[in-house]
Subunit: 241 residues, 2 copies
DNA sequence: TTTGACAGCTTGTCTAAACAAGTTTATAGT
DNA sequence: ACTATAAACTTGTTTAGACAAGCTGTCAAA
């Protein structure tokens, strides 16, 4: 990372995870961080603010930055993390089956709001994948990527990691996403690919992902077996005036 | 709110929602904000950073702060918002039935980790409530509040708003929470209170809420009818070094 | 017409300083 | 032994300034 605050954030985070700063202990004070890293106080404070934001510490005035219990990475996580990144972090035995690949599909464009408001249908690349975890098919991912942003996608990228291709090869800057989680009855496709009984339920995560320049480019529908689904979140209470 | 950044955050947020700054437009530049509000640039930047964090704007270098589509408040929301606050914001017709109130209950203390690690059981006040939305019972909330933090809770507080009592009456500063969402088959209690068939599924949200001094004080199990459940989230991608 | 350089905007990063306010500890006085 | 005060820590807020880097339009040169 280029900026100092992120470097310090990563360093402190690593030391929290390695229990150099264990649960219930205090991080070095802001002034100590200045000396330790050779930075100004505000720079250190930015790193601490991010740690607090993500649930690793709680800042207490007059005392310091307390290391608190944070959510471990579970599957699937909140945040934008690609499946491959996640599986790697967790050491999960996983396989990726591309069961559909259509480089010339169409999608109603009302989903991609700001971009092309006049066009009613947008050309997309459609990818359908089944995630097999420990030998059991658990998730169906349906991705639709705007061809105006990503003209071509090699099938091998879908088989390995889509994000590695988008960020690494194409240099796209993936910035943010909105997600919606609902519970829905399994449809025929679900039952077929995931070998489920009738009456089974699915956790469905629909998300729109956008680039740093605010162009939405990817719509995803991720359908999870109910019994395999878990979502963890950390939230801070906002005080409104 | 006391600090300027929060004041400006609230003011900008209001103007975004009232479409003074509509979707797709740019907020005043940072230097303009300085003049508009009579503040320094860093103070304005803190307000903008919070707006970006919560998904209202996307900052684009060289251009400005673009107003992007943000999640409307849906039910239930991410974040820590009390049921009453939420229902009020949404104008939902809602009723609150306290179906259980035990001021002398016990709960395994391993949930409240840092506080009392040696004690195996913690004294809590147990509250069970059914949320009735538009005449239909939709949610069962089971709350357990540590008596070491909140010694007594009037039953009327449970009938109206628990958070209003904790923050308003007792002056407690509720700071953060970790949540976990899973899908589980409905149990007998669910079926009884929510009038469900056998084989019905529930969305279960378990959460631990803590104060500003990092003391966890509340464990909640919120059980939602599957067909009424929806969770919306906004996430930014983190770049790791 | 096209190209290229540049000025003037924008946000991003970083620093140094000052003061307010909450916590802890040492100390002096009772 | 107890208490009140003060000093020395902590984080919280705010400012002013500097320079880097990305975007856009202007204007002059080719």
């Amino acid at each position: 990372m280029r900026n100092k605050a992120t470097l310090i954030y990563n360093d402190l985070l690593q030391k929290i995870e390695q229990e150099v700063y264990p649960l219930g202990s205090y991080l070095p004070s802001e002034n100590q961080l200045c000396e330790l890293y050779g930075i100004s106080r505000e720079t250190g404070r930015k790193a601490l603010a991010s740690l607090a934001e993500n649930g690793y510490i709680q800042k207490i005035r007059g005392k310091g930055s307390l290391v608190i219990e944070h959510r471990q990475y579970e599957f699937p996580v909140s945040g934008i993390v690609s499946y491959q990144e996640l599986a790697h972090q967790l050491g999960i035995q996983t396989r990726n089956e591309v069961v559909g690949f259509n480089p010339n599909a169409q999608l109603p464009a009302h989903r991609f709001t700001i971009v092309e408001p006049t066009v009613t249908v947008a050309p997309v690349t459609a990818i359908k994948r089944v995630r097999v975890i420990n030998g059991e098919p658990a998730i169906i991912d349906k991705d639709y990527l705007l061809k105006s942003v990503v003209p071509t996608i090699p099938k091998t990228a879908a088989e390995t990691s889509l994000y590695a291709y988008l960020e690494g090869q194409l240099g796209l800057q993936i910035a943010y996403a909105t997600k919606e989680i609902t519970m829905e009855p399994a449809n025929e496709e679900d039952r077929e690919y995931l070998q489920l009984d009738k009456g089974a339920y699915m956790a469905v995560v629909r998300s729109m992902t956008s680039l740093a320049d605010a162009r939405p480019f990817q719509y995803t529908e991720s359908r999870h077996r109910a019994d395999k689904f878990r979502f963890r979140d950390f939230a801070r209470r906002q005080k409104r005036g």
